[in-house]
């Protein structure tokens, strides 16, 4: 019998054009490359400078997301560009795609959205593939048993020109999640908790495979949330083996084979799992049962706390983060006043995330102090959410309902948290200034974010979801006027 192999081993071996040698890294074939406007212009310029064509235009798909405004166009079709440069960048991708015959999910194509939301929802992301994108959250696609990782712009040029990358084999880390997530805790709480456990460099040099009963019980959208933040632990990629949940989610998607061809593909896809007894370089075990709703408190995603926790005392490794955040060591996290709430991004901008936020917002009002933005991850997510009335719940609560895009996650598109403001965000990075210069970010699940919006401060989302005691919302004197 052959040696049991991990999912990563299988994916890696299947895509080797040339194995690693003493002289050169491995030559890895890339099945699918996704592009967006920010990291691609320099790559196309490199091709132009060398007179090179795109080797396989059919294996590249592009979308517009990072620098796109999320306000609808004005009366003359004018969009609210943050800068002229941002507009030029989007135009550059449109013309580069046209020149090279690359399919672009353009404005109002009905398919545009955040690159890591549209790949899976169109069924472009499929098990057994190698998939890259000039974006570190490419790990999201690993939820499908796909080896997916972020690359820089030079590598974007490499894939465009040769469909290959030079790569060194990473190590493997198994994260086994036992037990079940308690009610009111979701994938975001789980991944924040894990990063807190292993640290922001805990996965450096590794590809993480998430497995165990709590992972198997997650929906595909939740699995994407988990894989998405692998990079926040420093990992090259995140992976989850294929099972019925994967296959059921893919069936009927626009770009997967249909009918009998789908069943044949599904049978092949099922091989993309780790074999029983496969060896990993490292293993970490956590018990999902221990989890409570979790938020970040500092300036990197490893500085996390349960919502009812207290900040660590001031110490050499915390003092800078405490001072940037304007927090005292030892203070309680819950009750901290909040200025902005952002629900969206490739971590939590899918339909189930918007439903989770809407479940908290339904029949309630956003606190008058708080500005809340809800931004669907794609045009398709927006359509689906509107079909079930989520946009109405969001608007009636006093929050803004926007067009699809990265929005406040990266704050290069006009959606910015002002200096000093405290935001509770469902995105993935709380680095200094990530959501705008001087902005302070707490990362949280959609339910925790929405609870903070209603309460006007960091709050346990469980009571808002009908779990446990009734929520303590501010006295009516502070509330907006409620629409009749």
């Amino acid at each position: 019998m052959s040696t049991p192999r991990t999912l990563f081993d299988k994916l890696w071996d299947a895509h080797l054009v040339r194995p690693e040698s003493a002289e050169a890294p491995a030559l890895l074939y890339i099945d699918l490359h996704l592009l967006h406007e920010v990291t691609s212009p320099q790559a196309f310029a490199e091709l132009a400078a060398r007179g090179l064509p795109v080797r396989r235009p059919d294996r590249h798909k592009a979308t517009l997301d990072h620098s796109t405004p999320t306000l609808p166009p004005g009366p003359e079709g004018r969009r609210a560009w943050a800068t002229r440069e941002a507009e030029a960048q989007v135009e550059a991708l449109r013309s580069n795609c046209a020149a090279h015959g690359i399919e672009l999910f353009d404005w109002d194509s009905g398919r545009r959205g955040i690159v890591h939301v549209v790949g899976p929802e169109l069924g472009l992301t499929q098990p057994g593939m190698t998939l890259v994108c000039g974006d570190s959250h490419t790990a999201t696609h690993g939820a499908f048993g796909t080896l997916a990782f972020g690359i820089g712009s030079s590598e974007v040029a490499h894939v465009l020109a040769t469909q290959c990358l030079l790569q060194r084999r990473p190590k493997t880390l198994a994260v086994t999640v036992e037990g079940r997530l308690p009610p009111g805790c979701g994938a975001k709480d789980l991944i924040l908790h894990l990063i807190g456990r292993i640290g922001v460099d805990g996965g450096t040099g590794h590809v993480i495979e998430y497995r165990g009963p709590a992972i198997e019980a997650l929906s595909m959208e939740e699995r994407m949330t988990v894989c998405n933040m692998s990079i926040e632990a420093g990992a090259r990629a995140g992976l989850i083996g294929v099972d019925d949940t994967t296959i059921d989610w893919l069936r009927g998607r626009e770009r997967v084979p249909q009918g009998a061809a789908f069943e044949a593909a599904a049978a092949r896809w099922r091989q993309w799992r780790s074999d029983e007894g496969a060896c990993f370089d490292r293993e970490v075990r956590i018990d999902a049962g221990e989890l409570r709703p979790t938020l970040s408190w500092g300036t990197h995603p490893g500085q996390v706390l349960p919502v009812d926790g207290h900040l660590p005392p001031a110490a050499p490794e915390t003092v800078r983060a405490l001072s940037y955040m304007g927090f005292e060591g030892g203070q309680a996290l819950a009750g901290t006043p909040v200025d902005v709430v952002f629900v969206g991004s490739c971590t939590n901008g899918r339909l189930s995330d918007l439903r989770e936020a809407a479940a908290v917002l339904r029949g309630r009002r956003v606190h008058p102090r708080v500005r809340m933005l809800v931004v669907p991850g794609s045009e398709a997510v927006k359509r689906a959410a509107e079909a079930e009335g989520i946009d109405r719940i969001v608007r009636e609560a006093g929050a803004e309902w926007r067009e699809a895009g990265c929005s406040m996650c990266i704050a290069m598109n006009g959606d910015v948290v002002a200096p000093g403001q405290l935001a509770v965000s469902t995105s993935n990075r709380n680095f200094e200034g990530r959501q705008g210069k001087g902005a302070r970010t707490l990362l949280a699940s959609p339910a925790s974010a929405a609870a903070a919006a209603v309460a006007g401060c960091v709050a346990d989302p469980r009571p808002f979801l009908g779990l446990g005691a009734a929520p303590s919302v501010p006295a009516p004197a502070f509330a907006h006027e409620v629409d009749a």
Partner: protein, 197 residues
């Protein structure tokens, strides 16, 4: 890319852990379509005050840092996004090597592709460097060693391929293009293995 064999320079010290790519180059400067000119935005939000004036206390604004080509920093440098704008900004600001006890994977790969040398040294060594901000170091790429003024030296890990690329100033794309036959053969073997439409 120009060849990179030896470098001798004073060091600039940034004694912070987990310096992420949003600090190296904030996202609002990523709307450019070229690689050039990002140096003035390197560490922008640490370097300039609210009015855009350079903060005289920030290490890279101090006169002695003007000549520094080597940046010494805390562990897990370059974590965060895959933006190659981070090494472009550092290079444009004159930095040719980064010394840290840990360097994030994607940043490391991006740096090497642009002739910025990532050097990982033991944490205790980096800590002593961080305490001597005026030190001059010499880096020999062919030997894979960092030299102190007194002649002491320490090795650093650099794979053979990256070393050759640095020493000869060649980039990976040229090598990849030379593998055309092997790539075409792979494609013939796997024509329908992955379904992309």
């Amino acid at each position: 890319m120009s060849p990179f064999r030896c470098l001798e320079s004073p060091i600039a010290c940034l004694p912070r852990a987990n310096i992420d790519t949003d600090q190296i180059i904030p996202a609002r400067f990523l709307t450019t379509t070229t690689r050039e000119g990002l140096g003035r935005h390197a560490f922008h939000d640490w370097r300039y005050d609210a009015e855009g004036r350079p903060d005289p206390d920030f290490v890279l604004n101090r006169p002695e840092a003007a000549q520094a080509r080597i940046l010494v920093t805390g562990p897990n440098f370059g974590c965060g996004s895959s933006r190659e704008h981070a090494p472009w900004a550092l290079l444009d600001a004159g930095i040719r090597a980064v010394i840290s006890a840990g360097i994030a994977d994607i940043f490391r790969a991006n740096a090497l592709k642009n002739g910025l040398l990532p050097i990982v040294l033991p944490e205790a060594v980096v800590d002593t460097l961080l305490a001597q901000p005026r030190l001059r170091l010499k880096i020999d790429v062919a030997k894979g060693r960092v030299y102190w003024p007194e002649g002491e030296s320490l090795p650093f890990v650099l794979d053979a391929f990256s070393r050759t690329c640095l020493l000869e100033g060649v980039d990976e794309l040229g090598y990849l293009l030379s593998q055309h036959e092997a790539i075409a053969a792979y494609e013939r073997r796997h024509e329908d293995a992955a379904h992309v439409v």
